[in-house]
């Protein structure tokens, strides 16, 4: 008798949908993947939904409503393995910027009838609510990393993801350092590898869309940036983007706020 295929579920919370799309963007691998698993729950791709439990759940998006805070508990209960995909699910995403201010003022700035809007005061990562088995970084995640993580779980082994900085990827690509040679405020030294050092390859400074690397020396990098004549408000903005909610970046941005 044929072995039963593992059940894959894809969940979405507050996000741009780009992380789920990363899966559909695996044009060369998608048909093979769809053959290796049962795509049991994936609202963006299918109107047919199979009930849990699921062997592998991929979660896209951050938690910003009471409804989603409840749903993520349910996702954990019905999932053997839970993998978060991207900056929103792993760190709260760009919508974490509300955490530094008053969300009611935000709602009033965007909506004529803010009272119709249901939202929490903060945007939080999935790991703030339930245990997470693996976090795939990036805004958006790298296709190769996503496939390697899914592949690892399908083969019953632990996934391997880099913990080092973008600098190493720059060296591997043979890029000339944009911080040293061009004086650009590059976030590469404190940013987790995974993108393949894209921005420096295109002659621009890394903007940290893969979040902080392991043990980042953010204060030292800020000092270097001050040497480039960057002002405090610019430092706040550099650390306060797609991984604004990650602990190391949150602390560093707050250190430069008046």
């Amino acid at each position: 008798m044929a072995k039963k295929k593992p059940k894959l579920a894809v969940w979405k919370f507050a996000s741009c949908d780009g992380c789920q799309l990363t899966l559909l963007d695996c044009e060369d691998e998608l048909v093979t993947l769809a053959g290796a698993v049962e795509i049991a729950y994936f609202v963006e791709a299918s109107r047919s939904h199979v009930r849990g439990p699921y062997d592998l759940s991929l979660v896209d998006g951050s938690i910003t409503t009471l409804h989603d805070a409840d749903l993520v508990q349910e996702v954990r209960r019905t999932s053997k393995v839970l993998v978060t995909l991207g900056a929103c699910a792993t760190a709260g995403g760009i919508q974490t910027l509300r955490n530094f201010t008053d969300v009611e003022e935000y709602a009033a700035a965007v909506y004529p009838r803010p009272e119709y809007i249901e939202t929490l005061k903060t945007s939080t990562p999935v790991s703030a609510h339930v245990p997470v088995d693996c976090e795939v970084r990036g805004c958006p995640p790298n296709k190769g990393q996503l496939l390697s993580v899914v592949g690892a779980y399908l083969q019953g082994r632990a996934p391997v993801l880099p913990q080092y900085s973008v600098c190493l990827e720059c060296k591997l690509r043979g890029n000339i350092c944009v911080l040293v040679a061009r004086g650009l405020p590059c976030m590469g030294p404190v940013t987790m590898a995974g993108c393949g050092a894209l921005c420096p390859t295109y002659h621009r400074a890394c903007y940290a869309c893969f979040g902080p690397k392991e043990t980042p020396n953010t204060a030292s990098l800020s000092g270097r940036f001050k040497g480039l004549k960057l002002k405090e408000d610019q430092l706040v903005r550099l650390f306060r983007t797609f991984y604004a909610g990650a602990e190391a970046f949150r602390q560093e941005s707050e250190a430069h706020e008046k």
Binding site: E27, R47, S48, V103
Partner: protein, 429 residues
């Protein structure tokens, strides 16, 4: 006849989270609500205080499906504020990048999201078991678009190479030429896709839409043009807010747009095609005619053919841009901040995307306004549902529900954008 409710709690194969609630009572449709419960992310609020150079990267995160559209509307609006005009090869490269996104987004919608409805499958994975060749061609076509975006932009989703004033790095002529062979394949496949989609069964449904789209003096519209409509509107993009307004319904997280005097209007492929048929290259016009379309198409179900025709246009346009390309000396034009307000409106795959920014003397954003295409189409989706369901009340619930979902998917709605949507819910209650 008895009353009932058609409910689709989670509309599938659309981008983002939404639902549909249709209440039927005494043989007539009493209420149609398109509910968008995609949680709000407050882009227009947190853009305040950010530097104008960050706008293309920040606003691209509104939508993972059409990030280039956000980047394009942002750069045009900010260049308008700074009184800078990007011309020549840099302008051509922007069009080329946008062509890549149109090919990718339209191919995704045609093959993965829309075609399964016409052939009776819940998704493209199950469709692939019976139609493996078409799904493979579709994925390769999608990849051809993505390859273009990744080549110029650095990656497919949230490209990193776009900046106000131009790019960070531009390709050489010979680098760009490497894309040609796959695009020539894509041209043949796009033509085949149009022919394939034209063979589907289309319900008899042709609403009297007011189409709204950009119109350019010589090009099929992507980045620039005047805003025109099938009711005679012809305005500059700065006047957009004088003619259109956004309102908010208690059951939805997305703002809904309407023409100030005439109400709901339609943006997107049908509107663009019907207002700009004469601007399509002959190859795309011929493919449309062979598929049975006239110069105006009012059947939203046939948008699947129109998207195919637009892929054909985008491939042709990309090939001619690559052929004429000469590498510019600088990847971007210099910019100097000044206090001003700027407007941008470009044609996202789903329709016009309007941006307005006010910036101060340091270049910090004081106010931002983003009006995505799905927010503009929302009221029209509700009207379409009302008019489509009314003569079809006798259909069994499962069939009617599926057709309502399909009607919404005609719009290729992007709910993540509109909130800044799909559950169907038919109440015969």
């Amino acid at each position: 006849m008895k009353s009932k409710t058609i409910k689709v709690p989670h509309l599938a194969r659309v981008e983002g989270e939404g639902g549909l609630h249709i209440k039927i009572k005494g043989g007539r449709v009493e209420e149609v609500k398109l509910q968008i419960f995609e949680p709000p992310r407050f882009f227009e609020a947190f853009l305040r205080g950010r530097h104008f150079t960050e706008a293309p990267d920040l606003t691209s995160r509104v939508c993972g499906i059409c990030p280039v559209a956000y980047q394009m509307s942002a750069v045009h609006a900010l260049e308008d504020a700074l009184d800078v005009k990007v011309t020549g090869p840099l302008r051509a490269l922007r069009r080329l990048l946008y062509c890549g996104e149109w090919i990718e987004s339209h191919a995704l919608h045609i093959l993965m999201l829309h075609a399964p409805d016409f052939l009776g499958y819940p998704d493209a994975f199950r469709m692939a078991r019976d139609h493996p060749e078409m799904v493979k061609l579709g994925l390769r076509l999608k990849k051809a678009g993505n390859t273009l975006v990744a080549f110029l932009g650095g990656r497919e989703i949230h490209p990193i190479n776009v900046r106000v004033g131009g790019f960070y790095q531009v390709p050489t002529r010979s680098e760009l030429a490497t894309l040609t062979d796959e695009l020539k394949w894509a041209r043949d496949t796009a033509r085949e896709t149009v022919r394939w989609a034209s063979g589907f069964d289309f319900p008899d449904f042709e609403p009297d839409y007011e189409f709204v789209a950009l119109r350019h003096e010589s090009e099929y519209p992507l980045n620039e043009g005047r805003l025109v409509s099938s009711q005679g509107l012809d305005i500059g993009i700065k006047e957009y807010e004088d003619h259109f307004e956004e309102t908010q319904a208690p059951y939805s997280h997305a703002l809904q747009s309407a023409h100030r005097g005439r109400g709901p209007y339609l943006v997107g492929p049908l509107a663009r095609f019907s207002l700009n048929f004469d601007r399509l290259p002959p190859l795309a016009q011929d493919a449309a005619r062979d598929a049975g379309l006239g110069p105006v198409c009012r059947n939203p179900f046939q948008s699947i053919i129109v998207r195919g025709v637009e892929i054909l246009f985008a491939v042709e346009e990309a090939l001619s841009i690559i052929d004429a390309y000469e590498m510019p000396e600088d990847p971007a034009v210099p910019l100097e901040p000044r206090p001003a307000t700027g407007f941008g409106c470009t044609e996202a795959p789903r329709g016009i995307l309007f941006h307005r920014y006010e910036i101060d003397h340091q270049g910090l954003i004081v106010k931002a306004k983003l009006v995505p295409p799905t927010a503009q189409n929302q009221k029209m989706m509700e009207r379409d549902l009302h008019d489509y369901v009314t003569p079809r009340l006798d259909l069994p619930d499962d069939k009617l529900t599926w057709q309502c979902e399909q009607l919404i998917r005609n719009y290729d709605p992007c709910i993540s954008c509109a909130t800044h949507f799909l559950r169907v819910d038919i109440d015969r209650g």
